[in-house]
């Protein structure tokens, strides 16, 4: 069954920690109150069931002008082939509660910095080393399954369409079957009738308009000159004819569009 792609609901970038990283996190002793949720879930046994969808505060950038100047002061090797040697690992599915959010990582960074200040130079830990081999989990689009009823209806319509095509193909092979409405005389007559009626209506309304101008106004106002009556009648008839023509043209245009649309749809299905 086909699926549609929906919008991203939870736009949280998270990190799936590697094994070494997980071990390090478990070894954190300082159990403050302000440990963020993701870390709590890993460290503590009793998992808190708070909703993870709480809007998290923005972390902000850590690189300031000082760091930027430091970086530009270094003699950096050319690293043009940046994307060549990135190791690509197969995605492994992890349970949700081991994912670390940005907030967790920021907390960890502060924690590590505090630790590093107290211990000696050889036993320092760095976050980027811990993060190696971890995996960034990007938010995924939601997948909306297609409605079952729609699917059913589509199948039915498709079958109908194919049936019609088949009959169209075989209609001059088998003389007995004349199911298609286009082939019967009554259908043709009906089509002709609709057009004839439209033309007839047009003529009648024009004639009525002329009669109104020619006779009706004289009845209303009193005796008028013959030439003037003729002019009045012609003007009325003309106005009505123009209005009528406009509607006729509009209707014919719609009919034409409908037909071309039907034809196009036909071609597309093929």
């Amino acid at each position: 069954m086909t699926t549609h792609i929906g919008q991203i609901k939870h736009s949280q970038v998270s990190v799936a920690p590697s094994k070494a990283f997980l071990d390090y996190i478990r070894s954190i002793k300082a159990l403050d109150e302000d440990i963020p949720l993701g870390l709590q879930n890993i460290i503590c046994k009793n998992k808190s069931k708070d909703s993870p969808t709480v809007k998290q505060p923005k972390g902000g950038y850590l690189i300031t002008d000082k760091e930027k100047k430091f970086i530009s002061s270094l003699e950096l090797p050319e690293g043009k082939q940046l994307w060549k040697d990135l190791p690509l690992k197969p995605q492994t599915s992890l349970p949700d509660d081991t994912l670390l959010t940005l907030q967790d990582l920021h907390w960890l960074f502060r924690h590590i910095q505090a630790e590093n200040r107290t211990c000696d130079a050889n036993s320092k830990v760095y976050l980027h080393e811990l993060l190696e081999n971890s995996e960034i989990v990007l938010p995924k689009n939601e997948e909306i399954p297609r409605n079952r009823e729609l699917e059913k209806r589509c199948q039915k319509l498709k079958a109908e369409q194919q049936n019609r095509e088949y009959q169209n193909m075989t209609k001059n092979v088998d003389g007995f079957r004349r199911k298609l409405p286009e082939d019967t005389i009554s259908y043709q007559l009906k089509m002709m009738n609709t057009h004839l009626i439209a033309v007839f209506q047009f003529i009648v309304s024009v004639l009525a308009g002329f009669a109104f101008g020619f006779i009706g106004i004289e009845l209303l106002v009193g005796s008028l000159d013959f030439g003037f009556r003729l002019m009045l009648g012609t003007i009325c008839a003309l106005v009505i004819a123009i209005a009528e023509l406009y509607f006729l043209a509009k209707k014919l245009n719609e009919d034409l569009e409908f037909e071309t649309k039907a034809k196009n749809a036909h071609v597309k299905v093929n």
Binding site: Q7, I8, S11, Q12, V13, V15, G59, G60, Y61, L62, I63, E67, K68, F70, I71, S72, L74, L76, P77, G79, L82, L102, L105, H106, F109, I112, Q113, A121, K124, Y126, L127, H128, E129, L131, I136, L138, P139
Partner: protein, 161 residues
């Protein structure tokens, strides 16, 4: 020797920060792109409404100016400039349409257009803003990743010595 160790420490701390910032930038880019997507969806809905109201022939690419149309000035121009660290940044320059030098593009579809077309126009404009911001973030992210890579190489060199 002590100087090298300190140097290494500084590099590693910077690397930490860069790594975290890369993630922050990713988050930001995703958020911006979602915003842009929402704006585009709104714009498309309003445009579709306009086409429904005016008929699909009166709001279509037939109304757009062709090569033979008179020249007109663009309402919005993207400028590219490098910031002080060599990262490319884009910014948008928008003008208010004043019917002389800058024409309002909604006039192409007639003079009495429904409000939906104006809503659509505004939403598309917002989407453009979001996208420019997203492009800026993307450039910074690329620069950031490059720096991480370079710093890592440097670190390896230093620690192997």
């Amino acid at each position: 020797m002590a100087a090298t160790v300190e140097h290494l420490d500084q590099i590693c701390t910077t690397l930490d920060k860069l790594t975290l910032d890369a993630l922050t930038l990713m988050q930001e880019e995703i958020d911006l792109k979602i915003n842009a997507e929402n704006a585009m969806i709104g714009g498309e809905t309003h445009l579709a409404k306009t086409r429904y109201i005016l008929g699909h022939n009166s709001v279509s690419n037939l109304q757009l100016p062709t090569e033979n149309s008179p020249e007109f000035n663009a309402l919005t121009v993207v400028h590219t400039n490098d910031d002080e660290y060599g990262v490319k940044q884009f910014d948008l320059e928008s003008h208010k349409p004043d019917n002389e030098t800058y024409l309002n593009p909604s006039k192409w579809f007639g003079y009495l257009v429904p409000h939906d077309l104006q809503f659509a126009q505004n939403l598309y404009r917002q989407a453009l803003q979001w996208l420019v911001q997203a492009a800026n973030v993307q450039n910074r992210l690329r620069e950031n990743c490059l720096q991480i890579k370079q710093l890592k190489e440097l670190k390896q060199e230093l620690s192997s010595n």
